[in-house]
Amino acid sequence: MAKEPEKKKEAAAPRAEPVKGSGTPIVLKDRFQVYPATPLYDFDLPSATAFACSDKRDPSLYLLAYVCKPELPPRVNVLRTLKGHTMTGLMPLLEWGVAEWPPAGRQCLLVIYQRPLGGRVMPSLDAEIAPLEEHELVKKIMPQMTMVLKELAEKGITHRAIRPTNLYWMDERGEQLVLGDCVTTPPAFDQPVVFESAEAGMCMPAARGSGGNIDDLYALGVSMLMMKMGRNPLKEATTEQILKGKITKGTYSLLVGDERLPLSMIELLRGLLCDDPAERWSVNELELWANGRRLSPLQPKQDKRAVRGFAFLGEEYNTCRELAFAMSQNWDKAAEPMMDGQLEVWLRRGIENKDLADLVGLAIKNAKGAPAADLKQAEDLLVTRILMLLDPMAPIRYKSFSALPLGFGPALAVIMGVKTDPRLFAECLTRDVPHIWFETRPEYDPTNSQIDSMFKDIKAFMLQQAMGYGLERVLYDLNESLPCQSSLVADSFVAEIAELLPALEHTAKKIDPRTLPMDRHIAAFIACRFDYNVERQVTALNDKTAHNQLLGMLSLLGTVQWRLGPESLPGLASWIGAHLQPVVAAFHSRARRRDMEKELPRLVRSGNLPELFAYIDNVEEKRRDEDGFMLAKAEYAASSQEASDIENGTDRRSEEAQRYGHQAAGVISMMMALTALSILLLIRFF
């Protein structure tokens, strides 16, 4: 779990005079000047750094720019929706874009916000602030928050970063509370587990998914409680303790403890912190409450407790959820009590849930029937399935990987962004773990079927190791607005397919031309985001021969240029041209090669990849070359054979000379005889 940066502890209180930028600015979109020399520590986020910013059109405005970490995928869809929208209760997002960021030595995503002048509500989660009064929370803050959450819900957006350290006073008098940034990281990535429901908290931070508005309401409830108390009641607790506490006691009891709260706050917090998502307050219920409706507070539901506890690693567990959580934390030890039947017996006799016991028994029987070589794998899948049966609300858990279905995308994006080992993720998909999760849902949900079939498609992509498929394809399929992660365009933030070729053109100017302008990421990015079928080009890209691979690459990039432009890409064409030697060499005719070597520079200068491809991959020329070559080969072979016959035929030739010589002598001799006879007869008669 990410913590707020230490530096901001020193700068908790709002400054008397807001800081203006100084030094040489970086200009974004010819309008916003970001000052790398003027950091705003008060506004730093765990995964984004704040800098002073100004607007050329209105220099009197105080702005701030967040510089995102390149390895974390931003929420581009949310960025697009929120840009330029003014929502009461939300820090106004004015602009975003990519710019060369000198401190990082590369291009970074910058997000420009209007700067809140009243500072952060809570400098850090370890800090203590003056508790907010009930009337201030109920009359001023909750209506503001209700309005913004309602507006976000209408736009289909979840904030997923509501916490006191990301809440700001927009004005210096502290009248308007606003939600801070929610776009610089994957959803809920920086959220401490205390602000997440138990099921989302069990996930890896990047794998919580965008969730729903009820997740924002839950986080708002925790934030309101902390603002009312003026402190974090669980600041000493570890993540595991918090999750365990939420499962065993429920969130409300865990957080409120012995704290005395006003009745109105109790009703609000009981509604917002309800652990059952189906019963948790929605935005409408919050709005009704904000408008004055008062009901009796929701009472927490208790999980069914066992008549006798289940002993696991020296501790006794009385509910299925508790046990499932404990087992998920001790994965390697979990299979044993399952396989020896203790768990089934406990479910049958202790929990007295015959149906669940039957399902567990069947899963164990199937696992035992697995071949000896696959036993370990079968045990892992058994643990996964049984944990899902024991706690249907929990996320998909497989060994140390845990994610909600819609969190797989951001999880993979972070795994690949920070370059950690994706093996567990891949294993989870190839072993159909998400399908087991959908199989074990207690109630039918049509959305689940859609997501399940999406996972099937994704698995099919992942099982193909060719370029354009594999994990990279899964990455872009699961993250529809993720920028291309290829190192070739890493500093250009290519979120749209149309931006890819200009980015490669930009890269062409500075890269070692020996590098190929294609890699697994670019191939997968095009295959996933391009609206036209490029199956043929991708297949060629994976051909065994180098020249066909190059043709596939040129064809793929050429198709993108043909459909989306730009018209001329001389840099990229030159970059590709440097690799075309094998393609030229694939022609047998030396004359054709010489012609191509003369013509290619002209085509490269024109920067038109489709034209370049059409010239190189001329089917008629190829056929003519192939036919000519076959004929030449046959002619060479025949001439070799004849030459060899001549060279090795001395004896035969001398034999022939002998025979022909004798024949010739015979013929000459006979002719002379006939001539002599004829002359004599002529003399005699005439």
């Binding site: 005719s589 030449a632 001549i646 002998q658 004798h662 000459i668 006979m670 005889a673």
Partner: protein, 173 residues
């Protein structure tokens, strides 16, 4: 209507035997009178053409062309004397008279000798001619190969078998 019977095939051996019998009968009928009426000619030719007979006997090559070469020139040498025999007096005395003249014999047998010379001397000439044409053809072939190499590269000289062997070799390595 009665079906037409296929014509009976006469066995070829029977046909050959019949023709052979006809020739034999012909020879038996015509041979003795011919031998009798042309006896001086036959005797003269036999003795004058002895070198040809010798050539036929001594030639051990598979094709046995020597007697043809000798016979041609031998007959060219014999022909003037044969005319003399036929047009002066076609008698045994005249035949022996011609054969008894050493000068005439030298002419007839000398011509046969020339036949031998022709037979011995032509094969080296033909061999030399064959060598020259072969070398010229070899030169043409080398030119063709050079042209093919310059136009299509080294791979034009590689046979498919070579390619397969090279691939197999690489796999083995």
């Amino acid at each position: 209507m009665a079906q037409k019977k296929p014509p009976k095939k006469i066995p070829q051996t029977a046909s050959r035997g019949a023709s052979r019998a006809r020739i034999t009968i012909g020879l038996l009928l015509l041979g003795p009178p011919m031998l009798f009426f042309f006896l001086p000619t036959w005797t003269f030719l036999f003795l004058a053409m002895l070198p040809t007979v010798v050539a036929f006997v001594v030639d051990r090559t598979p094709y046995r062309y020597a007697w043809v070469s000798v016979a041609g020139l031998n007959f060219a040498g014999v022909a003037p004397y044969l005319m003399k025999l036929w047009f002066e007096a076609h008698t045994m005395n005249n035949a022996f008279k011609i054969l008894g003249n050493p000068f005439d014999l030298i002419v007839m047998y000398g011509a046969a000798g020339l036949g031998w010379v022709l037979h011995m001397s032509l094969p080296p000439v033909v061999g030399a001619w064959l060598d020259v044409t072969s070398q010229r053809r070899l030169g043409q072939l080398r030119d063709t190969q050079r042209r093919l190499l310059s136009e299509w590269g080294e791979e034009v000289a590689r046979s498919d078998d070579d390619g397969e062997l090279a691939v197999a070799g690489r796999r083995k390595r």
